[in-house]
């Protein structure tokens, strides 16, 4: 709200403008080179796009946790990535057990639902404990205090799970039903990607129903609008905040399982850190505090991350462009924070509540 240096020349603005121009140029040149060289066929683009959507729906599920908490407490729960890890890492053992009994492949749907519930509940517990122990005593302190606490909590959780389950990498077992592809027109889409997208969609619809249609959802919205008024209306604020953390945790945990089916490898104690930052990017992209925004932001980020390296970086002649997928995502993060901190659906001005 406090605008400054609007009419006078400002070299900060100037530098940022230069940056903007450079990025637009890079994107245009890169895309032009790639498209004109025709290295990647249309079908391949579509496949990348769909893979991006599936990955993005996982980001979206995690991003919802950031957004829900931010909407209510105006704090960035930096440890949310670790909540995701807690569910994903714990459920590996359940998946292995189910696989060994053969149940996973005879009753895949039931097993997956059980796994999602298990992971969701574990993550939910972690998120609620986190709120209760680390964040609740800090309500009302300056913004950076809960953020530093959250960073501490993030590392604490990582190394707790490292201690509990060991530091090695684990992998989800393969589910036979989800192997193979589904032909749609001329394009073959991996079944697992469709599964990921659809199940994420279901969970998001569930959240939408919870927030819009139930009494507790109404209470959540009330608390996020104005805590004092909500308190006067007889809403138990502490309970609502705990519930919000719980819901965010549940979504993150289920995202952990879905992610495990999509990318079975690489399950370990550090697996939550990068997806955590990316999901935060998604939440900011959509406008933090905004639930549909987080969903859109997640999908958008997933697609950019899938297409960006091949389209822009490869076009600029950078070798090993797909190694730089994360760089694209983090660059997105920084760019959004610079140019549009209120996000795509940013009706809620970010500084209004600052």
């Amino acid at each position: 709200m406090f605008k400054w240096r609007t009419e006078d020349f400002s070299w900060v603005d100037f530098t940022i403008d230069v940056l903007r121009v450079l990025i637009v140029l890079a994107v245009i040149i890169g895309s032009w080179n790639t498209l004109s060289s025709g290295r990647i066929s249309f079908a391949q683009w579509v496949n990348l796009f769909i893979a991006g959507l599936s990955q993005g729906s996982i980001y979206a599920l995690i991003a919802l946790g950031y957004t829900l908490v931010y909407g209510i407490l105006l704090m960035i729960n930096f440890a949310h990535g670790e909540v995701f890890m807690a569910g994903a890492f714990s459920t590996v053992f359940l998946a292995e057990a189910l696989n060994r009994t053969g149940f996973l492949n005879t009753q895949p749907m039931l097993s997956i639902i059980l796994m999602i519930l298990f992971a969701g509940l574990i993550s939910m517990t972690v998120a609620i404990l986190l709120e209760r122990i680390a964040y609740r005593p800090l309500r009302g302190s300056p913004r950076l205090v809960p953020l530093i606490t959250a960073i501490g909590a993030s590392f604490f959780l990582q190394y707790t799970f490292r201690g509990l389950y060991g530091s090695g990498f684990k992998a989800y077992p393969q589910v036979k039903v989800l192997q193979g592809t589904v032909p749609i027109g001329a394009i073959n889409i991996p079944t697992v990607q469709i599964f990921v997208f659809v199940s994420a969609l279901f969970l998001m619809l569930g959240l939408h129903w919870l927030v819009e249609r139930t009494r507790v959802g109404k209470a959540m919205r009330a608390v996020s609008e104005n805590k004092e008024v909500a308190r006067l209306m007889g809403i138990d604020i502490d309970w609502v905040i705990m519930f919000t953390f719980g819901v965010g945790g549940f979504l993150a945990g289920s995202a952990g399982v879905i992610n495990g089916l999509f990318r079975p490898q690489g399950v370990n104690f550090f697996m939550g850190f990068i997806p955590g930052i990316k999901a935060f990017t998604a939440a900011v992209l959509g406008g933090i505090g905004n639930i549909p925004g987080a969903m859109l932001g997640g999908l958008f980020l997933g697609v950019i991350e899938a297409i960006g390296p091949n389209l822009v970086l490869a076009g600029l002649g950078i070798p090993g462009a797909n190694q730089l997928k994360d760089v694209i995502a983090f660059t997105m993060l920084v760019l959004v924070l610079i140019f549009r901190p209120q996000g795509i659906l940013g009706e809620r001005l970010s500084e209004q509540k600052a």
Binding site: M1, F2, K3, W4, R5, T6, E7, D8
Partner: protein, 269 residues
């Protein structure tokens, strides 16, 4: 009408000044002036746009329409630091001191517009930098004495009493050696004795330091007691302007404060 000591010169003038917040017009086409050397007050009911007006003058908000002139220069588009450098200082309704800095440090930050030393000079300990630091501290101590905080310079400002914090905030504003000082509810939350002390203090500002004072105030006794020029705002518009006696009798003002019935009753008498 003209009530300032020096009489005719207008130090702050606005022509058709307008400020909107997404549809809501907080300050509406305001024509307005403050005579130089006066103690002027802006009054009006809650939400009349008084603090918004302060924020526009000090550059916290950019005005959407109109023109704002201070001492012959245009303020439109200037940033808060530039405006402070041009000679306007302010205090805040909810005291905004630098809490974890000592009182003297608060004052020394207030002297910013007159400081010249650089970081390199400080690291190297150049004589000019040292001299400036010493002078700045000496002047700061004098100022502390002037606002009645002698001996409290090394306390963290958050540990000062409420009244001392108000005084320190005024001191910090004075440190920039302004020509015009804007005080946002300087007596809010004070008991009657403190209020009288503060009013006397505001008179000293003008009489001893020759600073034009503009205040936003809710306490009508303070306003009528101290002001030489009053502007009344309601819903962002100016509804009256002039000497305290005129304002007291103005039917529009009474209406704005008490509702239309009261105005009618007043008129009947």
């Amino acid at each position: 009408m003209e009530a300032g000591k020096k009489g005719l010169k207008k130090i702050l003038v606005s022509n058709g000044m307008t400020k909107r917040f997404s549809g809501l017009v907080a300050v509406d086409n305001l024509d307005f002036y403050i005579p130089e050397g006066a103690i002027a007050s802006i009054i009006g009911p809650n939400g009349a746009g008084k603090t918004t007006f302060f924020n526009c003058v000090t550059g916290f908000y950019q005005i959407d329409d109109g023109e704002l002139m201070f001492d012959g220069t245009r303020l439109n588009g200037k940033t808060p630091d530039q405006i402070t450098r041009s000679g306007i200082a302010r205090t805040f309704q909810n005291i905004r001191l630098f809490n974890n800095m000592s009182a003297i440090e608060n004052i020394m930050v207030g002297q910013e517009p007159h400081l010249k030393s650089t970081w390199l000079g400080s690291i190297l300990g150049l004589p000019s930098t040292r001299r400036e630091d010493e002078e700045s501290e000496d002047r700061g101590r004098e100022l502390l004495q002037f606002v009645g905080l002698e001996g409290k310079g090394d306390m963290l400002s958050k540990n000062l009493s409420y009244g001392d914090q108000r005084r320190l905030e005024i001191g910090r504003a004075l440190a920039s050696r302004p020509k015009l000082i804007l005080l946002d509810e300087p007596t809010a939350g004070m008991n009657p004795r403190e209020t009288i002390e503060t009013t006397d203090f505001i008179r000293r500002l003008r009489d001893e330091l020759d600073i034009t004072v503009v205040l936003i105030e809710h306490d009508m006794r303070v306003v009528m007691d101290i002001s030489e020029h009053i502007t009344v705002l309601d819903y962002g518009r100016k509804i009256a302007e002039g000497l305290p006696e005129d304002i007291q009798r103005n039917p529009d003002v009474i209406e704005a404060y008490l509702g239309s019935g009261a105005a009618a009753a007043q008129a009947a008498i």
